[in-house]
Structure formats: C-alpha cells, structure tokens
C-alpha cells in the first residue's frame, strides 16, 4: 500500500503542496488584501511584502467608506450584528424544538415520528426557493416580511433537520438501560431526560448546534429574499457592498474577512464533529 519509493514520495509531496496552495491561497490572499490600500492592490506586479494598513477595517467599523465619489455610509457592522442575532436565535430555537423531538424519535417507535423525521430530511434536499417564494407572499400578508422572527423561522429549514438527525443518532447510541434504572429509582420521565439523556448526548448536541450555527451564518438565499437592508446578514450585505460603485477593493476584502472569520474559527474548534455533522450522522470521523 505505502509507496516508499523515492519517486512515490516526491509525487506525494508535490501533489500535497499543489493541493494546499489551491485551497489555502484564496484565503491568504484576501486576508493580505484586506490590509492594503487601493494603490497597493492595483500595483502590477502584485507584491507579497507591503506596509499594512488598518484603514479598511477602520472604515468598516465606523461605517464611513471613503470612495472616489465622496463618503458613503454603509453599515457593515449592522450586517455582522444581524448575522450574530439571526444565527444564534435560529440555533437556540432549533435546539429547543429539535432535541426533545430527537429524543422521542430515538426512544419511541411511532409512525408520525418517522414521517416528521423523513419529511424534514427530504426538504433538506428540496430546492429552497420552492418553499421560499410562496412563503415570501404569505409573509407579506402576515407582516412577517423583513422581521427577525420571520427569518429565524425559515432558518429552521436548515438547522432543524441537522439537529434532529445528529442528536437522534447520539440518543440511539446511549443504552436506554441507564434511563430505565433511573426511572425505577422513582424519578420522573422528565428528570431522566434532563439529568441522564441530555448530558450523555451533550457532545452531539453541542456539535449539532455549532454546525447549524455555521450553516445558518453561511446561508445566503433566505435573507436575500426575505430581508431588506437593515435585517440582512453578512452574506447578503457583502454582495450589496460589491455592487455599490466606487468601493475600495481593500474594504471589500476586509468585509469578506470579517464575514468568514467567525465560521472558520468555529469550524476549527468543532472539526472533530464535522464529519458526522456534514453526513447527518451517517459517517463517523
């Protein structure tokens, strides 16, 4: 199996180097760009060594973007704040709704349970616009358009199947005997759930929560359709940014860095669980 020949080792070394360059270069390059002035970015040939500037970040934080056509007020920090609020609220709600349901699906065999679980799963793979476009018309009538609540509610489409299926797997892996022993000792069902099952499935619940947070944060199309400027998260905000004319490239790069840093850090922190989460619990890492 192992190619220990020199040619084999050289091939593997070269291949891995090329792979690392392809996948890492864009992140590194945009990161460097975010510390450059427009003049530095436009310089040909591009240079890797340069005098870094924090002006791009300062402009984003103050919301005053200097462009060729004068000052432009764009509150990217507002988008960042929206992303935090929307993703956190969506995950919290999904955990509240999903963990008890996952427990029910793992512990009791009942028809409705399977139907719910599989409906949510199959809509994980349905075109999101199919639900979103009619929903946007309903939302207009209900006055839910462009409200945090309305957006958090549709984010359940992303977060709930993930939490349901991952946490269900964790509950199924816990032997029910422990809970039974606890129940026999005279404790109620609710105590068995909160004191035994939930703590034992803790890592799974945490992993599912972190992953859903990442996926909600990275979502683009839901807010594109349902939110106007002051409720938009970073994904939609950053796009508006690029299309606004005359914005300095370094500022776009800085906005990108601010948008991806939270999820990348969370991903590094939760990487142990990513395999399981990405496959909805079908593959263990």
């Amino acid at each position: 199996m192992e190619h220990s020949s020199l040619a084999g080792r050289i091939f593997r070394g070269v291949a891995l180097t090329l792979i690392l360059i392809f996948f890492m270069f864009p992140i590194v390059w945009i990161f460097l760009m975010s510390f450059q002035t427009n003049e530095q970015i436009l310089r040909i040939p591009p240079r890797i060594l340069f005098e870094p500037t924090f002006a791009n970040y300062e402009a984003l934080i103050s919301g005053q973007l200097r462009t060729a056509a004068g000052n432009l007020q764009i509150s990217f920090m507002r988008n960042l704040f929206n992303s935090v609020v929307l993703s956190s609220a969506a995950v919290l709600l999904a955990l509240l709704l999903g963990v008890p349901a996952a427990y029910a699906f793992a512990r009791f065999k009942f028809r409705l349970g399977e139907s719910i679980a599989f409906t949510l799963l199959s809509f994980r793979f349905a075109p999101p616009l199919l639900v979103l476009l009619p929903l946007s018309l309903y939302y207009q009538e209900l006055g839910l358009n462009d409200t945090y609540f309305g957006i958090v509610w549709v984010y359940q489409l992303i977060a709930l199947p993930l939490i349901l299926w991952i946490v269900r797997g964790y509950f199924e892996d816990i032997s029910p005997d422990i809970e039974h022993a606890y129940r026999l000792a005279g404790h109620s069902w609710r105590e068995a759930f909160t004191r035994i099952a939930v703590p034992l499935a803790g890592p799974g619940i945490a992993a599912a929560g972190l992953l859903s947070f990442i996926f909600c944060w990275n979502n683009f199309v839901f807010a594109l359709i349902l939110a106007s400027a002051d409720k938009q998260p970073v994904t939609v905000g950053a796009l508006a940014f690029v299309t606004a004319s005359g914005i300095q490239y370094g500022q776009i790069a800085a906005a990108i860095v601010l948008s991806v840093t939270p999820t990348l850090l969370l991903a590094l922190y939760a990487q142990r669980y990513l395999v399981e989460g990405l496959s909805l619990g079908a593959v263990k890492g």
Binding site: I19, W29, I30, P134, L135, V221, A238, L278, S279
Partner: protein
C-alpha cells in the same frame, strides 16, 4: 431501532400503573417539529398550485387555472432547455471533478499522521466559507485590472482572459469556485470512510505481494463504494440546485450562459413577476431532486445504521 429497544419501549408503556401520558409523550415532544413540517408543507403545496396557474404579480386580473399550461410551454421554450442543459452540465462537471479530486486527496492523506491531519483540517476552511462569500473572493482574484489570477495567467501569455464575464469561460470560473468550496466535503467523508475500513484485507494483500493497482480497484474501491455513493449523491443534490455561487458571481450571466434552475426561477419571480412559471420551474427541479433524494436516503440509511452499530 433494535429489538431490545422495542421491547423496552413497550415495557415502558406497560407497567402496573398505566399512564396514558406516556403514550402521548412522543407526540407532545415532536409537536414543535411537526409544526415546522407543516410550515414547510403549506408553501410547498402553494407552489404546486401556483405552478398550475397563470399568475403574474403585475397582471393580477389575468390570474387563473391553466392546468399543465406552464409545463407545456416549457417543452417548446428554448430558454427552458437552456436552463435544463446548463444545470445538468454544471452538476455533472462539478460532481465528477470533486469526486476525483476528493478521492485523490483522501488517498494521499489516508495514513493518520499529524501532518496529514493538519492538512485535512486546513482543507475544511473553504468548505466552511459561505459559498456566496467564496464567489466574492474569487471575483476579487479574477478582476481583470488587478486580480492575482488574471495576472498569473498573464505570465503564461494568456492576456485578456475575462473569467466569469466572458461567455466562453463563465462556466469554467463558477465550476472552479464550486470545486474550491466543495471538494473538501467529498474528501472529508471519503477520508473518514477509508480510515474506518477493516485492515485485514489490506494486510493479506500486502503479504501476498498483490500489486497496488489490484488492491485499489478490487479492495479499496468496492469497500469504499457506499461512502462514495453517499458523498456523490449529497453533492449531486446540492449542485443541481446551486444558487449562491452563480448568483453572487454573475446573476446567471453573461446573457443566459449560467441560467441554472434556481437562478432562472428567482429571476422569473422577481424580475418578470411571473409566479406561475417560476413555480413550475421549481416543481420540475423538485421532481429531479426528489428522485435523487429517494436513492440517496436508502443508501444513507444503510451507512447510518452501520455508523451507529444497528446493522
């Protein structure tokens, strides 16, 4: 669910003091999830109904039931067949490329050394970048006046390469972004699969001096097949619905060069306010994904049962 659990579930409902609450319990617990299901299904049914109507937001008085009219119109509509062809091409190209590349990388990183693990963690980063943002990153890198990639291809004598803004290279450019974001997905699933394979067949093959190509095609690939199928179907299902990358990069352009299903449906709805047509387009896409996802779920359930030891 195993037999033991089944018996215990029954035992739970049966003890001396029969409490109806226990029977109700699972329903109560899953009630909120049911509500979300309903909230999804209502718009879904609505979309199905819209797809059978002549329904334009700007001409509300023309609204009416036209049966399969929207669908029949598609048959003779070159724009629809363009959308169909581009979606299929995009899906086929991205999934094949990502599968080959992902499998290759997984094989390279197979041995769990510290270096290999570090590389596989680094490769997670593109996957955790929002696809819409990833498209913006590549947009900056392929900008004709200062983009680093434009500069680099210029060094090789390719000047004036327009990336996503030229019809001949637009598909290539968005495929490149898709490959950058999603190859790590295939890689991470296959790597986990590879590392979970039993050792004995490989040890026996090594003892017998079986050539590496034989080991790969006759042992590794067949044992990895369920993982490969699950990972590819995952990607297939997402890829045929790609919206974020294409919309953020070119909004379906230049012209109609990248008009995949969801982008086309989005524009039908918001630009042409033709709700009926948009819904019919999405229903067709749903039909395709539904067939795929039924195959997917079967395969995925088997893998899942194995992962959780209920096989």
């Amino acid at each position: 669910m195993s037999m033991v659990q089944l018996l215990q579930t029954n035992a739970q409902a049966a003890p001396a003091k029969p409490r109806p609450r226990v029977r109700l319990l699972p329903y109560l617990l899953s009630l909120p999830a049911l509500l979300v299901c309903v909230a999804i299904l209502v718009p879904f049914v609505t979309a199905a109904v819209y797809s059978l109507q002549r329904y334009r937001l700007n001409l509300p008085y023309l609204r009416g039931f036209i049966g399969a009219g929207n669908y029949i119109d598609f048959l003779s509509d070159p724009a629809f067949w363009n959308t169909f062809r581009i979606s299929i091409t995009y899906t086929a190209v991205t999934v094949v490329l990502e599968l080959l590349l992902g499998l290759g990388i997984a094989l390279l990183l197979r041995r769990p050394t510290r270096f290999h693990n570090a590389v596989s963690i680094m490769l997670l980063l593109p996957l955790m970048t929002a696809p819409a943002i990833a498209a913006l990153m590549w947009k900056l890198m392929t900008n004709p006046s200062f983009g680093i990639l434009s500069y680099l291809v210029g060094l090789f004598g390719v000047t004036d390469f327009k990336w996503a803004s030229d019809p001949s290279s637009a598909l290539f450019t968005v495929v490149l972004v898709d490959v950058w974001v999603y190859t790590p997905f295939i890689m991470i699933l296959l790597l986990a699969g590879l590392r979970s394979l039993p050792r004995q067949p490989f040890e026996a093959a090594a003892l017998d001096g079986v050539p590496a190509s034989f080991v790969f095609f006759r042992i590794t690939l067949p044992m990895l097949a369920p993982y490969i199928i699950t990972a590819s179907l995952f990607r297939l299902l997402d890829s045929i619905q790609q919206f974020d990358i294409i919309y953020a990069m070119t909004q379906g352009g230049p012209g109609d060069r990248l008009m995949v299903f969801q982008v086309q449906a989005y524009l039908e709805f918001f630009q042409y306010t033709n709700v009926g047509r948009s819904a019919a387009l999405l229903m067709i896409l749903w039909l395709i994904t539904n067939i795929l996802s039924n195959i997917f779920i079967k395969n995925w359930l088997q893998l899942r049962a194995r992962a959780h030891g209920h096989a």
